[in-house]
Amino acid sequence: MNSKNPTVRLIVTALFWIAVAIILFYVLFPFYWALKTSFTSSSRLSAEALQWFPTHLTWENYKLVFTTQPFGRNLFNSLVVASGTVILSLLLSLMAAYALGKFRFKGKSVLMYIILAVSVFPQIAVLGGMYTTIRALGLYNSVFGLMLSYMIFVLPFTVWTLTSFVREIPTELEEAAYMDGASPLTTLFQVLLPVMTPALVTTGLLAFINAWNEFLFALTFTSDNSAKTVPVAISSFSGASQYETPFGVIMAASVIVTIPLIILVLIFQRNIVSGLTAGAVKG
C-alpha cells in the first residue's frame, strides 16, 4: 500500500477489494443459503433448490417447525438449561474468582492449574462416569442433569476469566470495605460486583452460547422431548419417511436459533473479541 506509483496503487486496491468480496461471500453464503431454503415451500424445494434467489417466499416451514415438531418445547428446554448453567456458574465462579484474585493462600497455583486442566478435559473422557452419576442422582432426561454436567466445561472458563478481571480491580476498593468492617460476602456483592458488571455480561454471554450449543451431553443424557434441547432436535428432525429429510424445516429451525445469537454477537462484538482474545492469548 506504500507504493507511489498510481497504477500499482490502483491494482493493489482492486485486489484488496476482490479479496474482501471473496471473504464476504465465503463466510456469509452458507447462512444465506439456509435462509433462502427456509423460505422455500417443501413442495417446490426439489425444483427450486438450486436457484440463487427464492421465487415464492413462504412462512410455511416456520409454521411447520412448531406444529409438526416439538420445537417450542426444545427452545424452552434450551433456554432453561443455558440460563440455569450461566446463573449457577457465575455464582460459583464469582466467589472462587474473588478468592483466587484477591486472597493469598497456599496451593493457589496448584488449584489454578487443576482448573486449567479441567478446561482441556475431553468431554468424552467423563462421558461414561457422568452417565452413571447422572443416572444415580435420578437426573437422567432432566434439564437439571444437563445444567450440572455443563459445569465441567463452563465452570473452568468462568472461573478463569473472572479471576483475571478480579485481579485488575484496585485493591484499595476492597481494603476500604475491609476497614469499614464489611464481611467478605458483603464486599464481594456490594463493592466488587457493581464494578464487575461488564465482565459478568461478557463472561455470561460466552458461557450462555457454549451451553446453548452443547451437543454430546444433551444427546446422551436425554431420551425424549421433555428435556431435549435445540441442538439435539435440529440434528434429528425427521420427515414423513426415513428417506426424506425435511431440509426446509431444518433450515427454518436453524435460522430461528441462529438469528438471536448473531444479533447478540453483533451487539457485544467488541466485548466478545476482547474477552476471547484475553482468555486465549494469556492462556
Binding site: F16, Y26, P184
Partner: protein, 317 residues
C-alpha cells in the same frame, strides 16, 4: 496465574498481621469450597469412575454385575487368537487415523486461512469493520446448525455444492463429496475450516495489533518490501499468538464429535475417536470397553497438552 511475590527472607510477622492472613486464608477456603465441590462432582468423580469402569466387563443393559477383568479391555488375545482389546481393534486405529487426518488438515488450513483473513482485516482500508463483523457470523452459528446447513449444501441430488462439483466434472450426477467415502473426510474438514478459521483470525488479529506500528515505519524507511516485512517482522512477532491458537485448535480437533456425528453418524470413513467411544459405550452399551477407549483418548490429549505447554513454555498470566 501469578504466584504472589514471596518475601525473600521470612521476617517474623507481627502476630496481628499473621492473624489477619490466617483469617483471610480461611475465608478464601469457604469462598472456593462450592466451586471445588461442583468440579469434583462433574469432573473428578466421573473421570475416576470412567477409569475404574475401564477395568471391568460391564454391559449396562445386561443383568450381570460388572466383572473385574484387569487390563483386558485394553489388550487381550482370546484363546482362539482374536485380539479383543481396544488397542488391537482395527476400528479404533481407523478412528485414530481419521482423527489425525482431520486434525492436521483442518488445523493447517484454518491457520493459513485465518492468517490471511487477519492480514486483510488488519490493513488500513475502509471496510475492515464490516469484515470483522462478517467473520463473526460463522463463529456465532451453532455447530449443529453449520453441520446441517453444509449437509444440505452437500446433498446428493439437490445440494448446491454437489451441483458445482458436477459442473466442474468432479462428481457424477447423484453423487456428493459426502457420500463418497474417499472424499467424505475432506468434505468435513471444509465445514470445520469454514466455522473455525474466523476464530483463528480473531486470535491472530489481536496478535497483529499488538505489533507497534513504528516497527513498520522503520522497515519502510529501510526500504523493506511488504513480503520481506511479512517474513522478517510480522511472522516472528506473531509467533506467540500463533502457537497459542494452534494449541487450542489442535486440542479441539482431537476431541471432535458434534459435526462429523451430525453429518455422517457412525459411518466408518468419518468415525473419529470420540464417536467410536460413544458408539461402544452408549449405542452398544459396552461401558467397560467404551470407558477404556475414553481413557486412551484422555491420555492422548493430556500427553499432547503437557508436551505443548512445556515445550512452548506457555506462561499463564
Amino acid at each position: 496465574m501469578t504466584t504472589q511475590p514471596q518475601p525473600t527472607q521470612p521476617k517474623p510477622a507481627p502476630t496481628r498481621v499473621r492473624g489477619i492472613e490466617a483469617t483471610r486464608a480461611r475465608t478464601a477456603f469457604w469462598l472456593l469450597l462450592p466451586m471445588v465441590i461442583v468440579l469434583i462432582l462433574v469432573a473428578g468423580y466421573p473421570l475416576f469412575r470412567t477409569i475404574y469402569l475401564s477395568f471391568f466387563d460391564y454391559n449396562i443393559n445386561s443383568p450381570n454385575p460388572p466383572k473385574f477383568i484387569g487390563l483386558q479391555n485394553y489388550w487381550y488375545t482370546s484363546p482362539e487368537g482374536v485380539g479383543l482389546g481396544v488397542l488391537q481393534a482395527p476400528e479404533w486405529w481407523n478412528a485414530v487415523k481419521n482423527t489425525l487426518v482431520f486434525t492436521v488438515l483442518s488445523v493447517v488450513l484454518e491457520t493459513l486461512l485465518g492468517l490471511g483473513l487477519a492480514l486483510v482485516i488488519n490493513s488500513k482500508i475502509r471496510g475492515r469493520g464490516l469484515l470483522r463483523t462478517a467473520i463473526l457470523v460463522p463463529w456465532a452459528i451453532p455447530t449443529v446448525v453449520s453441520a446441517q446447513v453444509w449437509n444440505w449444501m452437500y446433498n446428493d441430488s439437490i445440494g448446491i455444492i454437489s451441483s458445482w462439483g458436477n459442473k466442474l466434472g468432479l462428481l457424477q450426477p447423484g453423487q456428493s463429496f459426502l457420500s463418497n467415502p474417499d472424499t467424505a473426510l475432506a468434505a468435513l474438514v471444509a465445514v470445520d475450516v469454514w466455522k473455525t478459521a474466523p476464530f483463528m483470525a480473531l486470535l491472530l488479529l489481536a496478535g497483529l495489533q499488538s505489533i507497534p506500528s513504528d516497527m513498520y515505519e522503520a522497515a519502510d524507511v529501510d526500504g523493506a518490501s511488504p513480503v520481506r516485512q511479512f517474513f522478517s517482522l510480522t511472522l516472528p512477532l506473531l509467533t506467540p499468538a500463533l502457537l497459542v491458537a494452534l494449541i487450542f485448535r489442535t486440542l479441539d480437533a482431537l476431541r471432535v464429535f458434534d459435526m462429523p456425528f451430525i453429518v455422517k453418524g457412525n459411518a466408518t470413513e468419518t468415525m473419529t475417536m470420540s464417536i467410536y467411544a460413544r458408539q461402544q459405550m452408549i449405542d452398544n452399551a459396552q461401558f467397560g470397553f467404551g470407558s477404556a477407549i475414553s481413557v486412551v483418548i484422555f491420555l492422548i490429549i493430556m500427553v499432547i497438552t503437557v508436551i505443548y505447554v512445556t515445550s512452548l513454555k506457555v506462561k499463564f498470566d
